[in-house]
Amino acid sequence: MSKGESLPETTEPTTADDVAALIGDDLLDREEHVNAPGFVIRPDSVQDVLFRLRDEAGYDHLSCVSAQEYEDRYESIYHLKKFDDPTDEVSVVVPAAKDDPVSESAEPVFRTADWHEREAYDLVGIEYDDHPDLRRILLPETWQGHPLGLDYDQDRPQIVPLREHANPLQEDHEDDDGDTMFLNIGPHHPATHGVLHLETVLDGEQVIDVESDIGYLHRCEEQMAQQGTYRYQIMPYPDRWDYISAGLLNEYAYARAAEDLADIDVPEYAQVIRTMGAEMCRIASHMLAVGTFALDVYGDFTAIFMYAIRDREKMQDLLEDLTGQRLMFNYFRLGGVVWDLPEPREEFFEKVRDFLDELPEALEEYHDLISTNEILQVRTVGTGVLPPDVAKSYGATGPVARGSGIDYDLRRDDPYGYYDELDWDVCVEDGCDNYSRLLVRLREVEESAKIIEQCIDLLEDWPEDERTIQSNVPRTLRPEDDKEIYRAVEGAKGELGIYMRADGTDKPARFKIRSPCFSNLQTLPEMSNGEYVPDLIAALGSLDIVLGEVDR
């Protein structure tokens, strides 16, 4: 599959020294992170540097912004990548003074920085100059203190108001007979897939503006991880980020990051099991995405939702056989998986094969009921359009990006596990609309099935005395002080990344989750402004967000 062309006339820097030269006088210091070279730059020239890195060096993907507080300073790290080659990374480190933590905002360069910086302000307390709208994003606006800062007192009482979400139009539109109105969707609403609140401004039935109000499920996942030890205590939490059966994919993200941080090897056999389990989760997750999307578009608990649940039940049975749990698997361990395939193995293989055999027929049903259905096509083709350059600027990944023609899949572009040994394709559609995103998901189910089948073949023939499920990992892991890493895997919704900083103890000093849904949800206004309300709902459904991961 061909990758997007790079501009011929630019000579992109290839080494870290070239990048350093490009940054020039703004460079204060250099660091070495496990995944990429780090460049410490002046806090008042963030935009300059990022513009240069984006336009002259091709780093067009701001993957994540990790903020943290040290004893003597604050720091924001901009993790940059290329959509063409995600293994080519740089970290731009922006320090800020302890007594007055201010640095320049990156929002004019990358739209996605808007929410990421608001989150950094909310949780850590860094302020960003030139940011268009620096407010709290996850916690209530009246919250006192910044909980991931060093001196936060968790016992102090907090007061949270229940405001009627103020209608910004009321006063000037009360008496005139204009068509402008203000509509609150959520936080308790069946179409928002959880507890999301959309503040929508309408002109007649058209959406003029929509703003997502998130944080209704902010359950301190990062704090929980920072309180847990690397070896055992963190692994149960990833299951609960993206909880739509994508548990093993999330565990993969943590396993990959922590294994690279602590130099742990994973036996090949365990990698095959991991890959198989992860793809099973992807199927289950996409099934629900498709089912609820149809639910949103058709507006009722119709057959397609039940079909999706039926197939998910089958997949959950298989996953339960493998891991012992239906939803929260806790199956990966650093250095492998917790136990081998269930005995008798033949029975398990047969069950998986049965599922795979029935899958084409089931997918046929889905295509009959959804993708070839005229009503659905009328509702989804050409609605919720997200052009590729906009998607890139917002850091959209996963099926959302692939539905906009961006050929980006970490399983292939930044290979991990056993993916590069197997034969499968990345699904890309270039319609950029709701329909394309749906098609990408349906096609990805087929590709995942292909991967599972190959894994099963491999596992069946694996010699009995080479079935090592875990490598030797010390009971307590203490990665060196100040070792930093940002690693991502392809989760069900896109690039799921983890930033970790070790401080020499057995717990991470900073644990930051880069959630694909968080970035994807940010594109919603782009897709729905100017469209009708039902298209807004369809667009939201096609983004397939899960609030546990948006809010963390």
Binding site: R156, I159, L162, G194, P236, L288, R312, R326, L327, L547
Partner: protein, 234 residues
């Protein structure tokens, strides 16, 4: 229906018995001694018996609120859908509006921003209403109990009739919990009352202290607020 067939409805008891015996043989079947009849008995005390009847009706036809919060709601969806099909127990019609619902299943972690909203949703449900707490999060905060933003269980906000433990509970467990609730309702048992839950109160009614003073210029006097005293949380 052709005219020479018997009319489908009969008003006198003996005709009914006749047709029944014609169909099933004499004296074998007491299907017609239904639950309804057991509930009424032959006693003339209509008032208490009517209560009992109403309880039975309530327990047998529950309208659930379609209310998803977190991970547990995925298993809740599975409970409603094929295979587990909660509807078999007369409790499976999710209503999207709280004003039409009489049972709320709370499926997930409640955080400080959401608790006032949940309270509001609960207040909007008509009496009598019942609450099933699903998952460890609604019992104690579950895996997130130590979080700075997590309410330590649903009972801090609303009274809970049935707790279904698990993280997440299996659909079978939720079905069992709902069946238990139906049983309790049918027996007329009342729901427990929470001790000192977090209430929505007017900002001006709060005791003045440091936090209140600080927020005085951000919150209106008559805004409803919820005050979390984290230090006293279990």
């Amino acid at each position: 229906m052709s005219s020479d067939q018997e009319r489908p409805f009969h008003t006198t008891g003996d005709v009914q018995t006749e047709t029944r015996e014609a169909r099933t043989g004499a004296g074998t079947d007491n299907r017609f001694n239904s639950k309804l009849r057991e509930a009424f008995g032959s006693s003339p005390f209509i008032l208490t018996k009517f209560d009992k009847f109403m309880n039975w009706v309530r327990g047998s036809s529950m309208f659930m609120l379609q209310f998803g919060i977190a991970c547990c709601s995925i298993e809740m969806m599975h409970t409603y859908a094929v295979k587990h099909d909660l509807d078999r127990f007369g409790a499976g019609v999710p209503r999207a509006s709280p004003r039409q619902a009489d049972v709320i299943i709370v499926p997930g972690t409640i955080v400080s921003k959401f608790a006032p909203r949940m309270k509001r949703v609960y207040d909007q449900m008509p009496e009598p209403k019942f609450v099933v707490g699903m998952g460890s999060c609604t019992i104690s905060g579950g895996p997130f109990q130590q979080g700075y933003n997590v309410v330590k269980g649903a009972e801090e906000v609303i009274p809970v009739d049935i707790h279904v433990p698990g993280c997440p509970p299996r659909p079978e467990a939720l079905v069992y919990g709902v069946a238990k609730l139906q049983e309790r309702i049918a027996n007329g048992e009342s729901s427990p009352v929470t001790v000192k839950p977090y209430e929505l109160e007017q900002f001006s009614d709060l005791d003045r202290d440091e936090v209140v003073d600080k927020l005085a210029d951000q919150i209106d006097e008559d805004d409803l607020v919820m005050r979390y005293n984290w230090a006293d949380s279990p």
